[in-house]
């Protein structure tokens, strides 16, 4: 944590977070906290089973293109999303299925987008990397590394322009910390004191390139110091710690100052579903599995007596059922009609917009000369 962040936390950490850290909660509060933990687990398990179902859909050729899963990042996703209000905005990169679901978007529509169907949240135009839903204020998964940072900064600028009480959260991978847009965006946000939380999901790997090999300062949250931006690093395998850190970050943004949060997590599988991750050693793979946040959190809830084996099994079954429902819905949803191909090139209709299909000529061919008119 930077000095700025430390000062910041002392002065304005939310009361709930302070209470958890320093005092023994009273009984009703503890009950609420317990219920919250169970809900975290339900959400983590939903993401786990949804993503596993998506991976199966990919092998069944129901999903095309690239497909990046949140497996191993469930605690990070859950913790971050608890910190946002419905009116806040979220920008993410292309590993965003779990975020979409936790923003409140129907998993059926998320899966339908993966399957390229009309009921997909981007109507089948976006796919895995480009989930978008204005009503739930998910302003996009973005496929270009770092592409979402300037956009998210601009959304925060619009909020500031209108003096609203909303904030923007912008997630990214660890590799993004090295792209120019990262520097330009954080500098602008700090200069103009915009209400935005930048979140680095550090899973230690770009595709196969480690953070150590890509970042001269591998403790990525320290980059905040360059912009006098409060920043913090948190263990992303624990949803409670992530939720508390996210709450602090969001509170800072809502007070009109940007925040950089680094969430250290693990990627359970390859970069995308087709990546066997051969660049990882057997020991590393074993360690990642051992740290699996879903299993770890389940063990914690068992140990704390909040859930028994039967309850854990029930939550798992419910999540599996939900994921299967999403698959069934997506598979039954129609493919887009080819007649809609030109519907979304422009928002304002415009003269001479091309609606030519690949095999069609620009102009109707002139009628062939008939033998009668030839000399």
């Amino acid at each position: 944590m930077t000095d700025t962040a430390r000062t910041k936390r002392k002065t304005s950490a939310p009361k709930a977070a302070k209470a958890l850290a320093t005092t023994k909660p009273s009984a009703p509060k503890a009950a609420v906290a317990d219920e919250r933990k169970v809900q975290y687990y339900r959400d983590m398990m939903l993401i786990r089973r949804f993503e596993e179902r998506a991976a199966r859909g990919y092998t069944q050729a129901l999903i095309g293109g690239y497909c990046h899963l949140n497996l191993g990042e469930e605690a990070a996703v859950v913790g971050l999303m608890t910190a946002l209000r419905e009116t806040d905005y979220l920008f993410t990169n292309y590993r965003e299925h779990g975020y979409a679901i936790l923003r409140g978007i129907d998993p059926n529509r998320v899966m339908a987008e993966l399957y390229g169907r009309v009921d997909g949240i981007s109507k089948g135009w976006g796919g895995s990397m480009h989930m978008f839903d204005l009503t739930h204020r998910l302003l996009g998964g973005y496929g270009i590394v770092g592409g979402q940072l300037p956009l998210a900064t601009g959304a925060a600028l619009a909020i500031d322009y209108r003096s609203l009480d909303e904030i923007v959260m912008c997630t990214m991978g660890d590799g993004t910390a090295n792209i120019g847009a990262f520097h330009e965006s954080l500098n602008i946000a700090a200069l103009w004191q915009l209400p935005i939380v930048y979140v680095i999901i550090n899973n230690h790997l770009g595709m196969g390139t480690t953070v150590d090999k890509a970042s001269a300062e591998p403790e990525l949250y320290k980059r905040g110091a360059s912009y006098k931006m409060a920043s913090e690093r948190v263990n992303g395998l624990d949803p409670i710690l992530v939720a508390e850190a996210a709450a602090r970050a969001v509170a800072t943004a809502r007070s009109g100052r940007p925040f950089l949060l680094e969430v250290v997590t693990e990627r359970l599988r390859g970069h995308s579903v087709v990546d066997p991750a051969k660049y990882r050693s057997a020991e590393e793979t074993a360690l990642v599995k051992e740290r699996d946040p879903v299993h770890t959190f389940a063990a914690q809830l068992l140990a704390e007596g909040l859930l028994d084996e039967a309850a854990l099994t029930h939550i798992d079954e419910e999540a599996t059922k939900r994921a299967n429902e999403a698959h069934a819905f997506a598979e039954a949803s129609p493919m887009p009609d080819v007649s809609t191909l030109f519907d979304y090139t422009y928002a304002t209709p415009v003269a001479n917009d091309s609606r030519r299909l690949p095999g069609e000529p620009l102009f109707a061919p002139a009628p062939r000369a008939t033998p009668e008119v030839l000399p």
């Binding site: 996009g140 270009i144 900064t153 959304a155 619009a158 602008i188 979304y344 304002t348 620009l362 102009f363």
Partner: protein, 339 residues
């Protein structure tokens, strides 16, 4: 109707649109305190304040992307990028984001954005500051690219661009800023996607945009006076969408075409025009479509070399003469002229 410079027309239109719509704001490098590299935004910071005239760090990708994000939330940013050369630093945000967001998300978010930027050449600014690369943006579905050549169009097209719900690259030109012309008082936006026949004629169709539309009008007028030639001039005004019909209709009438462009010839805008004429008016052509374009070199600094690389009025005249000579039309016309 009043006579103003192209620069003044841009300035006055920006100001009027900011007064009309609170959502319109300006963002770019040196546009506030410095009043703009080419002074288009002179006085606007003093009048509207920092909230609406926002000086940025030198970070084209960052501030152009921020404008796109603000546009997604319903603001109507007008970005100034100092010259079109520097748009290359923002090309990911323009091409991969501004142009894609409406389609990629199934029509859920509009991007009502204007990027104002001048092209140029002829100012001895050397290789990195003299390019005309509007083609890069005109190539991309989802973008609109307009290029006014007169003060009247500077106003009408800027009104259209600001009120349009799509990203519009608004191409200005360093050589045009001080040109003067009549500008109507009313606020009628131009129709994006429409070319204009700025001079009617029957002998040959001369096609250009931005500075080269200005050159086309001048050369056509001169040839009318000197040679009695009756040349039709088309100002493309919009590079995407491209008004192919106006081009084809003209060539069907004149049977010959010369295309003028300030960019490089190979793969350039002129190549698209020539292909369009081939597709739509092949049987009407009496001569191959001729292109007059910049020499294919990185622009040199030295004035002599720079002038040699840029299309001149003489180059345009010669291309017209050679095209008409090839079909035996000029001698006939000149004969008429001397009768």
């Amino acid at each position: 109707m009043s006579v103003v410079t192209y620069r003044q027309a841009l300035h006055d239109t920006l100001r009027a649109e900011m007064l009309r719509d609170e959502n319109v704001f300006l963002i770019g490098e040196e546009i506030g305190v410095f009043e703009g590299s080419y002074k288009i935004t002179a006085g606007l910071l003093a009048e509207f304040g920092e909230r609406r005239v926002r000086d940025t760090p030198i970070a084209e990708e960052g501030f152009t992307g921020a404008a796109i994000g603000a546009a997604m939330l319903g603001l109507r940013p007008v970005v100034e990028i100092m010259t079109i050369n520097f748009t290359l630093l923002a090309i990911d945000q323009i091409v991969n984001h501004a142009a894609k967001i409406y389609g990629m998300f199934g029509g859920q978010a509009k991007v009502p954005l204007v990027i104002r930027t001048p092209g140029g050449g002829g100012q001895q600014l050397g290789a990195t500051h003299s390019q005309n690369i509007e083609l890069y943006y005109a190539f991309v579905p989802g973008m609109k690219v307009v290029a006014p050549s007169t003060p009247a169009d500077a106003k009408a097209l800027l009104l259209a661009a600001i009120r349009d719900d799509d990203p519009v690259l608004f191409l200005e030109n360093l050589a045009l800023y001080n040109t003067k012309g009549e500008v109507p008082d009313d606020d009628t936006p131009a129709e994006i996607g429409k070319a204009a026949v700025t001079r009617e004629g029957h002998d040959l169709t001369l096609i250009g945009y931005s500075r080269m539309a200005y050159v086309a009008s001048h050369v056509a007028q001169e040839l009318s006076e000197s040679d009695g030639l009756d040349i039709e001039v088309i100002d493309l005004r919009s590079l995407r969408p491209l008004d192919r019909e106006t081009i084809i209709n003209s060539v069907k009438k004149t049977h010959a075409a010369v295309v003028l462009e300030d960019d490089w010839l190979t793969y350039g805008i002129g190549a698209e025009i020539a292909a369009t004429i081939s597709d739509g008016a092949f049987d009407y052509l009496d001569a191959p479509v001729r292109r007059v374009a910049m020499a294919e070199v990185p622009m040199p600094y030295s004035k002599v070399l720079e002038s040699a690389a840029l299309p001149s009025n003489d180059d345009v005249r010669n291309a017209i003469y050679q095209t008409l000579d090839a079909i035996g039309r000029r001698h006939h016309k000149m004969g008429q002229g001397h009768d």
